[in-house]
């Protein structure tokens, strides 16, 4: 499992559903939703959020700049115990 877990936030009203991010994602996280936004576009969302590594490939190819990317290190169980102490 990847060391980092990522997450994306899509600006729903600005997304135009062009699917460029869907193709760019190396771990096939992104899909297009069934519901549409105010302009009638199917918007990008995380179909498979556990696989996201926060690589930001989707965000840099997004022509409308609607994707914001976050990532956080997954803590191994040993590290977690240490932190709790």
């Amino acid at each position: 499992m990847a060391k980092f877990k990522g997450s994306i936030v899509v600006d729903k009203e600005k997304c135009k559903g062009c699917e460029v991010c869907v193709v760019a994602c190396p771990t096939n996280v992104i899909g297009l939703s069934r519901e549409v936004n105010g302009k009638g576009f199917h918007i990008a969302f995380m179909e498979n959020p556990d696989a996201c590594t926060g690589c930001a490939n989707c965000a840099i190819v997004c022509p409308d700049g609607v994707i914001t990317v976050y990532k956080k290190e997954r803590l191994s169980s040993e590290k977690k115990i240490k932190e709790q102490k």
């Binding site: 936030v9 135009k16 699917e19 193709v23 965000a59 840099i60 990317v69 169980s77 977690k80």
Partner: protein, 264 residues
């Protein structure tokens, strides 16, 4: 490995990896879904942000789809007459030599009506950057044939494909201006995949750096799609671009630091 990270844990400002550049305004872009213009705008905005030159940059917008670029980039911009952006950029740069000046032009603007201005600005070696978006078609006016349209490529004015015997050969203007002594850096890139976006960003950065060092003109061609004009979906258009545009317009540096690169 522990997997208890919830989405709310990750989406916090300290975990931020990438967000839209603050040099971009909040306006929704009028471009068609999947258009390469948006990506190209963001690359320029990110480079301006990284170099911290937002207050010193002047952009010259063309006639074409990117005519409304001033709505999306929060910098000073000036609109030029069709094809005359390099001439206007020359004037701006000569009057304000400390500013960073770039033009952003399409193929109908730079390679058709503005050929003379482009070639002379390149030959004089003005200290400006030219970003040239090549999609092989007049996208804004409805997909008519442009000088860069490929042989046998369909457009609304060549519905049976471009017939080279009747309509002439496509123009590789980037290779043409690379021959001129005034150009310092000439390259061709694309924006359809993350790899190419990163390469294009480096090229744009280099174009601005060259301007800072007063080295001469930098021209960055960005091979892009026009999915509406080509009558395809964005993903199909990108694939078509790789299959058909890249053999004729191969990406890569053509002239680096004033020297032509050999084609090996």
């Amino acid at each position: 490995m522990n997997d208890n990270l919830s989405n709310a844990d990750i989406v916090k400002c300290e975990n931020l990896v990438y967000k839209r550049s603050p040099v971009m305004t909040d306006n929704v872009m009028h471009y068609c879904p999947g258009c390469g213009h948006g990506t190209a705008h963001q690359i320029i905005a990110e480079v301006i942000e990284e170099m911290d030159i937002q207050a010193e940059t002047i952009g010259i917008t063309p006639v074409g789809c990117a005519v409304l670029m001033y709505n999306y980039l929060d910098i000073d911009m000036q609109e030029a007459a069709h094809g005359r952006a390099p001439a206007l950029a020359t004037a701006v740069k000569r009057l304000m030599p400390e500013k960073y000046v770039f033009t952003y032009q399409g193929d109908g603007d730079l390679a058709a009506i503005g050929t003379a201005e482009t070639i002379h600005a390149c030959n004089r070696g003005e200290n400006i950057a030219i970003f040239f978006i090549n999609n092989g078609i007049y996208g804004m006016t409805g997909g008519q044939m442009a000088p860069t349209t490929l042989p046998n490529m369909r457009s609304s004015t060549s519905p049976y494909g471009r017939d080279v015997e009747m309509m002439g050969n496509p123009l590789r203007i980037t290779e043409l201006v690379a021959q001129l002594p005034g150009t310092y850096y000439v390259t061709r890139q694309a924006v359809h995949t993350p790899t190419y976006v990163r390469k294009t960003k480096k090229a744009v950065r280099r174009a601005f750096e060259n301007q800072k060092l007063k080295k001469g003109l930098s021209l960055v061609e960005i091979v892009s799609n026009c999915n509406s004009g080509w009558k395809m979906s964005p993903v199909q258009a990108n694939k078509w671009m790789v299959d058909n545009m890249f053999p004729f317009y191969p990406p890569g540096d053509i002239k680096l630091e004033g020297k032509m690169l050999s084609k090996d």
